[in-house]
Each structure stands twice: as C-alpha cells, then as structure tokens.
C-alpha cells in the first residue's frame, strides 16, 4: 500500500564529470549522508512517507548505498522499527521510502532518523556507517481538532482473519471511556494517559458494509466510532488455462473464486504477463482474457496471471507449447450423399488450423437416441465417411467433432445433422385376424390387421391389398385395395369358403402375404367357458396343446366388452405355445373380459379351442338386486330377484347375503348375527349358490315386523349397503277370516246389485206404492173378524173430484239440505162445497203404469173433495205443510189400517216416471215453465164437469 517508488529529481543537472571531477581522484572521500529528510503522514493508509537526498555525488555517478532507518514511538528511545534500505543512488536524486504503521499514527508520536553507508564495489574498504540524522518528530494529534474524543483508524480495510489495532485519543485524562466492537466491549491497554489501544486479532467478516467500532465517553455523552471494512480473503485464480482455436489468438480463462466485497477497493484487477515476449495485457473481464499470438511463430508461452485488489495480489503461472493447446472449431457444412436403404456418405468441412495441419474427427451415428456407430477419421480440409449397416426408411442423427491430430488437446463442439435412409419393401406380412358372421345366407367377414412396425414396414405403408380366392367353386380371384392407415375391412361374401391374402404395400413394393381361411363351419364347437384370474400384469392364459395339425394359436378378446364396437384385439402365437400373458394398459378393473383361444389348422382354418373369462381386478358388486316379496304368510315369505344381471357386475358373484332385522333377540336358524357398516346388528343368511335367485325366509313370528336387505358378494366384498325393505307377517287366523269374509261380501254385493237392478220389480212385488187390497192380509183379518161381507171397492165406481199434480223441474237436482217439500197442486175436478173431510164423488183417471192393475182389479179409489175450493175455481195449495200433512196422512192411511167408512184414495206415490228424474227430488221453487207433467189426465172427464180452457193449472211462477 505504501509507495516505494524512486523518482529522479532533475534532468538538467550539471555534468560534473564533464567538468573533470571524479571521486577516485579525491584523496579523501566526501561524506555521503542522507540530507533534507522529510517525513509526511498518510492517514488513509497509516503510512509514514520519508523523503531525502544524498549530496556530494558527482554527475552521472551511481553508487549502491544502504540506508538504515529507525522509527521510535512515543519517545526517541522506544525504537520500534529498524530497517536497512538498499538502493542505487544517482546524482541529485530524491529518495523515498514508506512505512506502514500497525498502530494508527494518530495514536502516538513517532520519531524517524536514518544513516547510510556506501555499499559499492567502486568504494574500497573499509565501509562505515555515517552519522544519524536528527530525529524527525511526527505528531498527528496536534491537527485533530477540538473534539473530546477520537477513534482511529478510520475506514480501514483489512482481510478477514488479520490483526487490527484500534485506539482512541481523548482530550481529558479521565479514563471513563469504553469501546465496543459491534456492541461487545473491548479490552485494551493504556498507551499514555489520553490514549488507549485495542488489539483486535483474527478479525471476523460480519458484513460487507463494515464493522462498527465505537467508544463511549460516559461523561458528556459522547460517542465516536469508526467503520472497519473486513473483506473476504482474496483468492488465487483457479483453473487458469489457455488455448487457441486458430493458432492466431490465445484465449485464457480462469475461475476468479469468491467475491471479496462491494467496495471499489476490493474490486480485483487481472493482468496477463508473458515472460518470453515480455508483453503484458490488462484484462477487462473477470474470467477471461485474449492474447494475440505473435506472427513470429513463438511456440512456447509462459504466462503469469496476476490478480489483485487494494489488499492483496495473487499470481498463477502457465507454461505451454502453443500447438499443444489447439482446440479446433466445430466442423461445418455437414451433408449426406448417396443415401440408400442401408448406406449413406457423410461429408463435412473443417476450419483450417495453421498450414498443413491434420485433424482427427470423430463421427457418431445415433438411431433412436442411442449411438449405434462410432468412427475416427483423419481429415485435412474436407472430411468424408461412409456409414453402413443402416435400416431402411429410418431417421438417423449423425454428428462429427474434431481435434488437433498432432497433439490432442480438446475436441471441438459437435456438429449434428439428421438424415433418413431410403424406403424398401415391407419385410413382414401383416398380422391378420378375422371375424365371421352369417347374415341372410351371406358370410360377413370382418378382416383386421395390425400396422407393421417401423422396422417391418421399411417405409410409409400406402395401402393394403386383400385378395379373395374362392375355394368351393371354380378358382376365382378378387382383389381389393384398401388405402392406409385402415386397419381392417368388412367383406360380404356369398359363400364362406375363401382363402384371403393380405399384403401391405409401400412405394417400393409389397410385403409377404398373410393368408387366412374363412369357412362356413368355423369349427367352433360348443366350448365351455373357464374363469381366469387376472393380475396387474394381465391375464395368464393357458390351453391344452393340440396333438397335431396346428400351425399356430390366436387369442382374441374385446378391449371394450360393453361397447358394441368391441375393439377386437388378438394375439398370434406359434404352434408350440400353450400359454401366454395377455397384458394391456387398457384393462380396467371391474370389467369382465372374455378371451377366445383359436387354434389354426394346417389348412389355415381357425377353430375355437377354449373360452376364458375373467377380470383384471375384481371389485365388489356395484348394485343390489331388486327383490320381490311373495307368499307372505304368518311364518314365512319368499324373496326373488330373478332379473338381477349377475354377469354385468364388476366381479364374479359368488352368492348373496340376506340381512334380516327383527325385534327378536335371537337369530332364526340358518342365519347368524352380523354387524352392518352402520354398526347396526342384524341376522345374516348366506346364499352360496350364485344361481339361486329365490329364497324363503321361514320360522317367522306371526304379526311381526321384519326388515330385510339382499346384496350379492364377490371375492372382494359385498355390494353397497342399501335400504331395508319392510315386511309385516299377518296374523295366524286372518287368512281363514279372509276365506270366509270375502265370499260373503261378494255375495252380498251381488245381491245388492241384483236388487238394485230389479228394484222396480222388487218394489212392485214387495212394497208397491199402492198395495193390492186383494193381496193384503188386512183384508183377510177384517173379513174373518169383523165383517165377512166387506168387499173391496171397485175403482170404476169412483168418480174423481180432484187430481193431485206434482210438478218437478226436469234436470234440476235438489240439494240435500233443501228440505222444502214438493209442491203439490190439486186439480179439483168436481165442484164441491166441502173439500174435506167427507166422501165425495170420485173421478177415475187412466194411468198406464197403474191402470193395468187398476183395470185388473177393477177398482177405483175415492179422491177426497177439496173442502174450501170455490166452484169452477181450481185453487192451488201453496202451503207445504198442508201438503206434507196430507201426504203423511194419506200415506199412513194407505198402509195402515183404514178406518171403516173412509173411501178416499191418494195417488201421491204413483209418480215414478223415467222422464221426470228422481222422484225424491221434488221441486221446491219451480220458477220455470213446466217441462214435464208427471201426471197425465188419462180418464175422459165429462165435458160438463171439467172444461180444460177454464182451468188455470198453474199461475206463472208457481212451478
């Protein structure tokens, strides 16, 4: 850090020698002592700079001298440094020397003096030291200023692990000052009453922004501090290496190592020095530097890489022969010529390295990511290499790199190029399989084939040729050409005996033919189905070897069994195969796969050998059967689930589990207790036969409540837990009651229906409205007890005096709550003064429904005459009470015992007429015109007695 340079003082000095002076001519040598000693301080670097000169030298005289320098601290007697500085001294030269102090110069006074001795062969012995100069005092503290406290050194930069001395200078003699490094108290030694020194050894790296060191004066609350910048140790460059690519430029590279810090003082600089040529290059980059090769064919180079910052310099050396460090550039213009199906010629060019140099090139051919060929070729300018044994229609990657042949140093970078060999005819016949169906007398043959592998195809397959040769009839050939990438075709053949040839074709030619026979009888006998257990690897299928006459086997299956398209797959095997592993990533757990194993006869006719079915992984049933309950009795019921598709379950159904819940604490015979997933306890029946689709639950209690749930199970487990079905067993005697009650109820209903249908007949027979007096038992009683001569009055003898007319609104219905009785109108036919009581003249009238009986009986009833009606005025009885009374009285009278002498007859209940609707629904308020008169005057009335125009039947609004 401190500068040791020596600078000539002046160039225009007097030429003493020219003037004739020479030391040798002096009888006594003049004293050669250092004079004009000046000492200056560089606080930044903590250096003392000394400057002096030596007088009494002659012009152009050069003498080797040794200067002894003494440095004392605090006082002159405390010498801390003595050094002999040897140098050649010229005439009128100012000499400089520097010294770096470990203790900050501000912390103590320093004194410097020196003396000299001539150490030159020109000067004969004896040699003796000259006198000491006077002590030069250096006291920086004088210029510090008035502050009470100072800490030194300021902003010092050191390497990690070095030792640093810190001091403080206080203006007072009080020693109540504490100093800290990043908050940790430091312990030092007192240099003088105002100065204390702290030695920090092995200083650590804390942060790039520096370490805070501060001193605190407890009186006056003064804190002063410094920042000590600690850098990482500057490392030596690693992996220093030089090489050339064209023998014109050298490129030297190195690893600079770890960064030392952010400060600009720590930024490293790199210099490249070549010792043979003495040339020097300043490197502008941190990791590499270029060096121009001299045109004078310098072969050997001795490089020194010097790296340094303000703290340290590091150097590494490298000696080498230029031609041993040749790293050629990558080849270029790589092309392929004469590319055939199996060969190709690779050509390339190289960058020249010097004159007449030879390169060693390495060629690699890669196919499908692997190196398949490797060859070394010696090249001057243009390289060429024949690549053999290639596959047709295959893409290859070829790459080439080169190295200096004379002295291998390093390979160049690879230069890659891809090429594809020419096509050839397909080498293998396609793997063909078929599916034959008979449809309406035709044979529907679906042919499938697998695309040829890349190695087999030898090119791009353009189409497939299918040749059909009819075997039964005259030999005919039919050719079908199916463009790629079809993997099958469907043929509808009139007959089934065909030999089919399938070839794959590319632009060069055809593959060998694959031959398959199709016959009407495919030889498929009724082969049973075996179960096979699949694994994660696939299905291991085996079959019985056929004794003879087999050219191969084919295993066929549907990749998508549930799909109508099936996605037919097959696997062709040799004649000696008896087992195979059918594996596919598409096998899905829970899907049942059916395999058919065919043997191919020598006539190339396949026939079904075995059938296998299985799951790659069985699962528990996905759904439960719909269970029907029947035959429910007091002690049993029957369950059936005949529609349950056990084959479509994701596993082989091995049986069924029936769970039965009841209030009974014990399980019935044949069942055992089981705990369901919901922790409920019930009884479980196990049905081991998977084909059993019915089950009778017996030994049940009458009139009891049961719940059941049926689920299938596979080897994995049972189906999902579903809802329980509720069943209640009937009482023990209820069926007997049912057997009796039902026929009784049926019979009663039948009778009631009959009665209803024959109600009119029944009514007339059993309870006519107008009883036949001749049939009445009353009459016999009367006859026998009272008056044997009493006879029944003949109707014909009666002359009616009034007609009771009951009008009813057709089509209107009577509300149940409407209790108003029907309005009856009495048509008084005969004028009478006393309408009631007393017998009056009778009027006979004809009623077709009744008249016949009346005629038969030859009787005629008496109609009581109205008591208050005026002559020729037919009044209308509007009071319903009167009517009811009259009705009630008359009806009672008609049924009950008729008092002697009473001959009046009422016709109230003769009104049933189909046209007039319900008889019970009597109109209560008939405001409309009369639609139907329920009574029709039947009997001719004498003109003088009743004149129709003079009879106002009803007043308007009284219907």
């Amino acid at each position: 850090i401190c500068d040791y340079s020596v600078v000539p003082l002046s160039s225009f000095a007097v030429c003493i020698k020219c003037l004739g002076f020479d030391l040798s001519v002096f009888s006594e040598p003049l004293p050669l002592a250092p004079e004009s000693l000046e000492v200056s301080v560089n606080s930044t670097h903590q250096c003392l700079h000394l400057q002096w000169s030596v007088h009494n030298l002659t012009y152009h005289q050069e003498l080797k001298m040794v200067f002894q320098i003494e440095i004392s601290r605090i006082k002159t007697s405390n010498v801390i440094w003595v050094e002999n500085y040897s140098t050649t001294v010229k005439w009128n030269q100012v000499l400089r020397w520097s010294w770096e102090s470990k203790l900050p110069l501000e912390c103590a006074k320093h004194f410097v003096r020196m003396r000299s001795v001539v150490d030159d062969a020109q000067i004969p012995e004896p040699k003796f030291w000259g006198d000491w100069t006077s002590w030069e005092e250096v006291d920086v503290r004088r210029s510090l200023g008035p502050d009470p406290l100072f800490v030194f050194p300021k902003d010092k930069l050191v390497e990690e692990g070095s030792n640093v001395t810190v001091c403080y200078v206080s203006r007072s003699h009080q020693n109540n000052i504490s100093c800290y490094l990043e908050g940790i108290l430091m312990h030092g030694e007192q240099l003088d009453p105002n100065v204390r020194v702290f030695h920090v050894n092995n200083v650590p790296f804390i942060r790039e922004t520096g370490t805070n060191i501060y001193c605190k004066m407890h009186q006056g609350d003064v804190i002063k501090g410094i920042i000590l910048f600690v850098s990482k140790v500057f490392e030596e460059p690693k992996d220093f290496s030089c090489e050339t690519r064209d023998l014109k430029t050298l490129n030297c590279t190195w690893d600079p190592g770890n960064d030392t810090g952010l400060l600009t003082q720590l930024t490293p600089s790199y210099t490249l020095l070549e010792s043979f040529s003495g040339k020097k290059a300043i490197c502008t980059h941190k990791t590499w530097c270029n060096w121009q090769v001299a045109p004078d064919s310098q072969e050997m180079y001795n490089f020194t890489l010097t790296a340094g910052n303000d703290l340290r310099k590091r150097s590494v050396h490298l000696l080498f022969n230029l031609t041993h460090r040749v790293h050629p550039l990558a080849p270029f213009n790589v092309v392929f010529k004469n590319v055939s199906t199996t060969n190709a010629t690779m050509a390339w060019r190289i960058h020249s390295v010097g004159n007449y140099s030879t390169l060693l090139c390495q060629v690699e051919v890669c196919g499908e990511g692997k190196v398949i060929q490797k060859q070394n070729v010696s090249v001057k300018v243009n390289g060429e290499h024949l690549v053999k044994n290639l596959e047709p229609y295959t893409e290859y990657a070829a790459q080439v790199r080169c190295a200096y042949a004379s002295h291998f140093w390093r390979w160049s970078e690879w230069t890659r190029h891809n090429f594809t060999t020419a096509e050839a005819a397909p080498s293998e016949a396609p793997d063909v399989w078929r599916n034959v169906k008979s449809m309406q007398g035709h044979c529907v043959v679906t042919l499938f084939w697998k695309p040829l592998s890349k190695l087999q195809a030898n090119g791009k397959i353009l189409f497939y040729n299918v040749v059909l040769e009819h075997l039964d009839g005259p030999s005919t050939l039919k050719l079908l050409s199916i463009p790629a990438p079809a993997n099958g075709t469907e043929l509808i053949l009139d007959q089934c005996s065909y030999e089919i040839h399938v070839t794959a074709n590319n632009s060069v030619g055809s593959s060998p033919a694959s031959v398959i026979m199709v016959s009407r009888d495919p030889g498929s006998k009724d082969v049973g189905e075996e179960r096979v257990k699949g694994t994660k690897r696939g299905f291991a299928l085996s079959w019985k070897p056929q004794p003879r006459g087999v050219t191969g086997y084919v295993v066929e299956w549907c990749q998508c069994p549930g799909d109508p398209l099936c996605d037919l797959r097959w696997k062709s095997l040799g004649p000696n195969a008896t087992s195979t592993l059918v594996s596919s990533d598409a096998f899905t757990p829970g899907v049942r796969y059916n395999f058919r194993i065919y043997a191919i006869s020598t006539e190339r006719i396949p026939y079904l050998l075995e059938r296998k079915t299985g799951y790659s992984q069985e699962l528990a049933p996905s759904d439960n059967p719909q269970v029907l309950t029947s035959n429910l009795t007091a002690s049993s019921f029957t369950l059936s689930w005949k529609d349950y598709p056990a084959e479509s379950q994701p596993g082989f159904v091995q049986g069924y589990s029936l769970y039965l819940k009841s209030k009974a604490p014990q399980c019935l015979p044949g069942s055992e207790k089981a705990v369901l997933p919901d922790n409920s306890v019930c009884c479980k029946y196990k049905i081991d036969n998977p084909k059993q689709k019915t089950f009778v639950v017996e030994n049940l209690q009458p009139a009891s409540f049961y719940e059941f749930f049926l689920t299938p199970y596979t080897s994995v487990g049972e189906g999902p837990l579903g809802a329980f079905t509720k069943v209640t067993t009937p009482d023990e005697y209820s069926h007997i009651l049912i057997r009796i009650l039902l026929p009784m109820i049926f019979s009663i209903l039948l009778i009631m229906i009959l009665c209803y249908l024959k109600s009119q007949w029944m009514k007339e027979k059993c309870y006519p409205d107008i009883p036949d007096p001749y049939k009445s038992s009353v009459l016999s009683l009367i006859k026998s007890k009272e008056n044997p001569r009493l006879t029944i009055m003949n109707v014909k003898d009666c002359v009616p005096d009034a007609i009771e007319v009951v009008n009813k609104q057709e089509g209107t219905r009577k509300s149940l709550t409407d209790t108003e009785p029907a309005k009856h109108s009495y048509l008084y036919v005969l004028p009478t003064e006393k309408r009631y009581p007393g017998p009056g003249p009778c009027i006979c009238f004809e009623n077709f429904t009744y008249n016949q009986a009346a005629l038969d009986s030859a009787a005629c009833g008496h109609v009581p005459a109205p008591s208050e009606a005026q002559p020729n005025q037919l009044g209308l009885v509007t009071s319903s009470e009167h009517v009811l009374k009259a009705l009630g009285k008359n009806y009672v009278n008609s049924l009950g015992e008729i008092p002697a002498g009473e001959t009046n007859l009422n016709y109230v209940s003769q009104l049933a007429s189909p046209l007039c609707g319900d008889q019970s629904s009597l109109p209560t308020n008939p405001p409309e015109p009369v639609l139907c008169s329920e009574y029709k005057m039947q009997m001719a009335i004498p003109v003088g007695l009743a004149s129709p125009p003079s009879i106002p039947l009803l007043e308007e609004g009284e219907h």
Binding site: V151, K154, D155, Y180, E182, G183, R207, T209, G210, N212, Y214, K216, D221, V222, I223, K224, G225, I226, I227, L262
Partner: protein, 202 residues
C-alpha cells in the same frame, strides 16, 4: 410542481458548497420579475398543507429505517448519535406571518432536500442492500421537490418574492463513514422534529 428541481440538485449543491456550509446564496434583487413556468394550483395552500402532512406522516418511519440500517450503536444511542443538534439548520417561527413562514419553510425544505441528497448518495454506498431505506429517502425527496415548487409559487404569486436566500448543510463526502452515518442520523432526527412543527403551523 416538480419542475423547479428537475434533477440538477447535485450541480447546485456543488456550486453552493464552494461557499462553505451555511453560507447564504447571493440574494437576487427584490425587484426581479417573479415568473413561474406554470400557473399555480388554485388550491395551493391546501396542497402545501397536504404535502407537509405527508412528510410529517412518513418522517418517523424514515428515521427508524435509517438508524436501524446503520447497525449498533445507532439504535441504542439515539440521543447521542441522532440527536437533533444541527447547528446551522434554518430557523422557523410558527407565529410569524404567512409570508415569513413560507420563506422560512422554503429555506428549511431547500436545506433538507440537499441533505437528503447527501444521505441518499452515502447510503447507496454504505448500505447498498437497504432498498426500503433508499426507496423512502427517494420518496421523501420527491415530495420535498414538489413542496418547494409550491411554496415558491405561492411566494411568487401572492407576495411577489422571486428568490429566497437559502443555506445548505455541510458536505459529507470527505468525512469518514461513521461520521457520515452520524450526520445523516442527526439530520433525519432534526427533520422529524422540525417537520412536525412546520406542519402544525400551516
């Protein structure tokens, strides 16, 4: 408002520091034409108040960020190292007239702006990784530039004061690193104290 301080502060500072710390700039004659590039904002005083409030609101956070980034002994010796004893800081009289207060505010903001420039420059070297501190220093300096422009506009338009003599703090470029840190801390402590008073006065 930010047009007055268009990034030539360093140049101005160099020119001014040649005269020494705290020395006033040559005074422009009073009758110099008061011309601003742009018309003042209609609600200028309100804007000045808002800017002062903004500075006052962020001053303490800036102070804390600063002394935390300097490391020990700064955070635990704020009274000794970061006390607001800045001797040449421009005075402020809260009970003066608006014109006086604006002139004094101008001097203060000019002083602070220059000092913040020094601090920002030093901290980019001394604490290159203290990005939040750098961001806060820059944001504060931006607001100060706007405030200075607004104050000048107000002085110009209402009081016809074209120029105000300003003084700047000492240059820290020649000082040792510890002293730079300490001066920055003192300045920011003073700033925190003064800006509270000034914001209250407006």
């Amino acid at each position: 408002p930010s047009c007055l301080f268009p990034g030539v502060v360093p140049l101005l500072l160099v020119l001014h520091w040649k005269h020494g710390a705290g020395s006033p700039l040559p005074i422009t004659p009073v009758n110099t034409t008061c011309a601003t590039r742009h018309p003042c904002h209609s609600n200028l005083m309100n804007q000045i108040r808002n800017q002062l409030a903004q500075l006052n609101g962020s001053a303490n956070a800036l102070f804390i960020l600063y002394y935390t980034a300097q490391g020990e002994p700064f955070p635990n010796n704020l009274d000794k190292l970061c006390g607001p004893n800045v001797t040449d800081f421009p005075p402020f009289h809260a009970n003066g007239t608006e014109k006086t207060r604006l002139v004094e505010l101008y001097r203060i903001i000019a002083y602070l702006g220059a000092s913040l420039g020094n601090i920002t420059r030093d901290q980019k070297v001394l604490n290159p990784n203290a990005l939040s501190l750098h961001s806060k220093l820059n944001a504060t300096a931006d607001i100060m530039r706007g405030l200075l422009s607004n104050v000048l506009c107000r002085l110009c338009n209402k009081y016809h004061v074209a120029h105000v003599d300003v003084a700047y703090g000492p240059d820290t470029s020649g000082k040792d690193v510890f002293q730079k840190k300490k001066l920055g801390c003192q300045l920011l402590g003073k700033y925190k104290q003064v800006i509270a008073v000034v914001a209250q006065a407006f």
